[in-house]
Structures are given as structure tokens and as C-alpha cells.
């Protein structure tokens, strides 16, 4: 569904991502992991259209999407969340989600109904009329996800959507993603530091280090790969 081929991006001589290639199969959940500064978010931003890659191609559902603007990428069917959450602080929780829902339904009341559904699903129903600025961090993370889901994406990009959550909160949101993946065939690509979430969700893991893909495959295999252990997981006891 998503094919990244030979992706490279530099920032003033810093090679953030070099010749990275990986694929996300339709209906799959893929985890993108790597130490800080490995180029995960750069990969994400290139896919989401924040900037064009220096080299390489990105194809979604068979069509090239590199060089498109973020709104065009979103319209093509890719929703994303931000690592540093960006709620519309002055708008209510429901209105935040309505903005996302308006992409596919031009009618405001239809968008509101759909947004309310998503809001319930993410457990934000009780906070519908509160300004987003009043939410706690876990709720803001949920709002990020709810907004992105409201655009009815075929592929969801999650940039550390679980970081900073308590284990139980993390499990809750993992359950929501599993359910969406199972019932609606939502494809997910997630950047995550929380190994608990990655291992629980991902069917495949891609490991980035210094901007290069050093390993990819089934979670159980990847976490035993010596190269991965050395660069990233060395000190960590993997679940």
C-alpha cells in the first residue's frame, strides 16, 4: 500500500535519511523504530508531504505522492498525528475533530455526527464541549488520533502517539488501533519508543539507524538481530 524506495533527505549536510526503503502492506501494522535522531520523523514528514525528499520515491496505493503538499497527501488517504501535539487550542474537542471530518463530508452537520462517533471511540465523549487547551497530555494524544481518523484515512501515520502515556492508557489506545485495523482494515505505520506498544501492535518492524534501514522483518526476529541489539536495544530488555 505504501512503498518507500531509496528515500534520502539531508538538512545542510546532515544526512537525516539515506537510501531508506521499506513497504507497508495493505491492512498491515508496521512499526518504525530506532534511536533518537535515527531519521524516523524525517521519514514521516517526507511521507506526509511536509517536505519533498532529495532523492527516492514514495508511492501510495500505486501512485507517487512525493512532492505533494500535506493537504494533498491527506486527501489521498493518509492521516497523521504529530509527535509534539498540535491541538486547535481555542476550539472545543468536538470542533477539533469536526475539522478533520469536513475533509470527506462537506456538510457540517454530517461531519459533526461522524466526529462525535470518532470522539466516543477514543473515549473523549465526556469532554466534547471543553476547549482543547484544557486537555491533559494523554487526552491531547487521543485528540490527535481522533482528528486524523476523522479524515477517514486508509493509512494512519502515528508519530509517538503512545509516548508519555501510562501503561494502562497505552493498552487502551493499542486496543483501539487493533480494533480499527481488524474491523475497518486500517493500515498503520507507527513510530514508537514504547516497545510495549510496538510489540503489541506491529506485524513488522523497520529499524532505522543514522538514517539507514539496518533491519526489517517480524518483531521477534528483529529484536534478536545483532545489529539492532548493538545500536539500539542493547541495554534494554526486550519484552
Amino acid at each position: 500500500m505504501l512503498e518507500v524506495d531509496g528515500l534520502s533527505k539531508s538538512f545542510r549536510g546532515l544526512h537525516a535519511v539515506q537510501n531508506a526503503s521499506f513497504a507497508v502492506p495493505q491492512g498491515g501494522i508496521v512499526g518504525l523504530i530506532g534511536p533518537n535522531g535515527a531519521g524516523k520523523t524525517t521519514c514521516f514528514n517526507a511521507i506526509a508531504g511536509v517536505f519533498a525528499p532529495d532523492a527516492g520515491s514514495i508511492a501510495f496505493a500505486g501512485k507517487p505522492i512525493h512532492g505533494l503538499r500535506p493537504d494533498q497527501v491527506c486527501a489521498a488517504g493518509i492521516g497523521r498525528t504529530f509527535q509534539i501535539v498540535k491541538p486547535f487550542a481555542g476550539l472545543t474537542v468536538l470542533d477539533n475533530i469536526v475539522v478533520g471530518a469536513l475533509l470527506r463530508s462537506k456538510d457540517v452537520s454530517a461531519a459533526k455526527n461522524y466526529a462525535a462517533e470518532i470522539m466516543e471511540r477514543l473515549g473523549l465523549g465526556a469532554k466534547a464541549e471543553l476547549p482543547a487547551s484544557s486537555l491533559t497530555l494523554p487526552d491531547r494524544k487521543r485528540l490527535e488520533v481522533a482528528r486524523a481518523l476523522a479524515t477517514r484515512p486508509k493509512l494512519l501515520l502515528l508519530d509517538e502517539a503512545m509516548a508519555g502515556l501510562r501503561p494502562t492508557e497505552c493498552d487502551q489506545i493499542v486496543a483501539v488501533f487493533r480494533e480499527l485495523n481488524r474491523s475497518e482494515g486500517l493500515t498503520i505505520l507507527l513510530i514508537e519508543h514504547v516497545m510495549r506498544a510496538v510489540m503489541a501492535l506491529a506485524q513488522k518492524i523497520v529499524v532505522l539507524h543514522h538514517g539507514e534501514v539496518i533491519a526489517q522483518g517480524a518483531p521477534q526476529d528483529v529484536v534478536r538481530d545483532p545489529a539492532v541489539l548493538e545500536c539500539y536495544l542493547g541495554e534494554e530488555t526486550v519484552v
Binding site: A48, V50, R69, P70, D71, C74, A75, G79, R80, F82, K86, P87, F88, A89, G90, L91, D95, V98, V99, G100, L102, L103, K106, V108, A111, R147, A148, A150, T151
Partner: protein, 333 residues
Amino acid sequence: MIARLLEGVPRRGLAMLAALLAFLLVFPAFASGYLVSLGFLILYFAYVGQAWNIMMGFAGQLSLGHSLYVGLGAYAAAALYVHFGLSPWIGLFASIALCALAGAAIGFLAFRFGVAGVYFAILTIAFAEFARIGFDHFAWVRGSSGLFLPVANYAENDLWNLRGSPRMFYYLMLGMAAGAFVLCHALLRSRVGYYWRAIRESPEAAQALGVNLFRYRMIAVVLSAAMTSLAGVVFAFYYNNLFPEQIFHVSRSIELILGPIIGGIGTLVGPLVGALLLTGLAEGLGELLLALGVDVPGVKQVFYGVCLLLVVMFLPDGVWPPLARALGLNRKG
């Protein structure tokens, strides 16, 4: 359509609005000529404040050069009237077109090349200043010596040519202010209104949700410019004289944005409340000082400054949001 507009509006707010409208409608019947002129001025600032608010309050684009649109609108309609005897009701189409074009040009430059924030504000000032200096040397509209509309004593109001009493202008401005209010209310509830507010709060997040930033920012600028141009048309025919040095002056831009800032940026009622407070109180203060025998130039400006300072310090969201809560209405009124 109407049922849809009223949906979700608190009953109390609706009743208050109806009462306010009724009051404004009968006001000229018992008010003196001076008070009617003052009422006109308040409605004028309520209207341009509303128009400016679309750009800043809704879409988050700070314009400090709205005098450009007032001036262009005024000059276009006035020149067509003076030179060709065209009614302002026809001339206003030229005003709207000219201002929409000017707004689109500024918007295109800014949004295509990533000019944002204070730099965008400076760009809007630059265009207004450019017009001020340009019109000073624009012979067709008499340059710096000013364009004057023919004035005579009219036995009755001539609405078609906008020649008549302050009372006529008062009702015209009331219609425009009420129309702008309803339009903004409808816009806020529409898709474009949601997108504007999303852009205002976080452009990156809005874009990630599929919002075409360029398109929606352009809509805001062009619409705001077009609405402001109509205020310019009325301004020209009310005052009957236009000087580039005055109408395009940056102080005029500042003057017209103080209302919505003091009233509450991004709110519907804010521009109205702000216009009432600033114009009403400044004029009242002027009268009071005159009665006391104090005739110091610049007092009005000092008053503006103090007002702004107090609001910034104590009511950072403007007067309306806390007032709305006190009246038992929701934030947006």
C-alpha cells in the same frame, strides 16, 4: 435556511439581539442629529471591524493595512460618480472588484512566498502606504488636493445616488452592519469557518487534516477586502471629500482594528461592542472635556491608548467574552 442559522443560538442571546435591533431601528426617531451621526459612526466601525475580523479573528491573518480597502473602495465609487455620474450602487461593483483584486495580490504574494506573522502585517501596511503615496499623484482623482463630491441641499433623500441626511446613512449602515453580522455568523458555522479557525490555531495541523492553506487564506483576505470596500463607498458619500493623506493613512487602519480588538477578536459581537465603547466613549469624553472648557488636541488618542492598555492588561480576550458570560450567553454569543 433561517432555521439553520438559528440552530444552537441561545434563546437569550437571540432575544437580546432582537431588542438591540429594535432599539437601533427606532433610535433616530427620538435622537438628535448629533446622536444619529454618532450612531452612524458606531455602526460604521462595527461593520469594518467585522470585515477585518474575518481575516484576523477567524483566519488569523493580521492586517494593519485595511485603510487600503476603505480608500480604494471610496475612491473607485466616488470617481465614477464625479466623472460619469454613475450611482454608487453601480460604482460599488468597481469598488468590490478593485479591493478583491488588491486583497488577492497581497494574499498571493504573502501566501505563495511564505510571508507570515508580523511580516505579513508589514506587507499590508506597505500596500496601504503605496496607495497613499500613489494617489497623492493620481491626477484623475485630483491627487493630494482631494476629490470632492458635489454637495447641495437636498429636499429629500436620494438613496440611489446616496445624497441625503445622516439619518439615511444611519439606516444604510445599520443594514450593512446587521448583514455583516449575519454573514459572519453563517460563515463561522460553515466548512470555511471551521477551516479558518483551524488555520488560526495551527496551520500545520490544519494542513495535515487536508486543509488547503493557500485557498482558505485567500478566501479570507479577498472576502474581508471586498466587505471593507463597501464601507469605503459609504464613507465617500457621507463625508463628500477624499484625501489620500487621510483615507489611506496607517492611523486609519489602526483605528478600525481597535474596535474588534477591544471587543474581542474572533467573536461575532466583539466588533460591535468595541465600536460602541471606543466611539461612544471617545465622543462622550470629547463632549465632556468641551463642557469643562478643556480643549487639548490628542485627548481622544490618549484615551484610545489607555483603553487598549486596560483591555490588554485585564481583559486579554476583549470585553465581549467575559461580558457574554456575565449575561449568561456562551462565548461566541
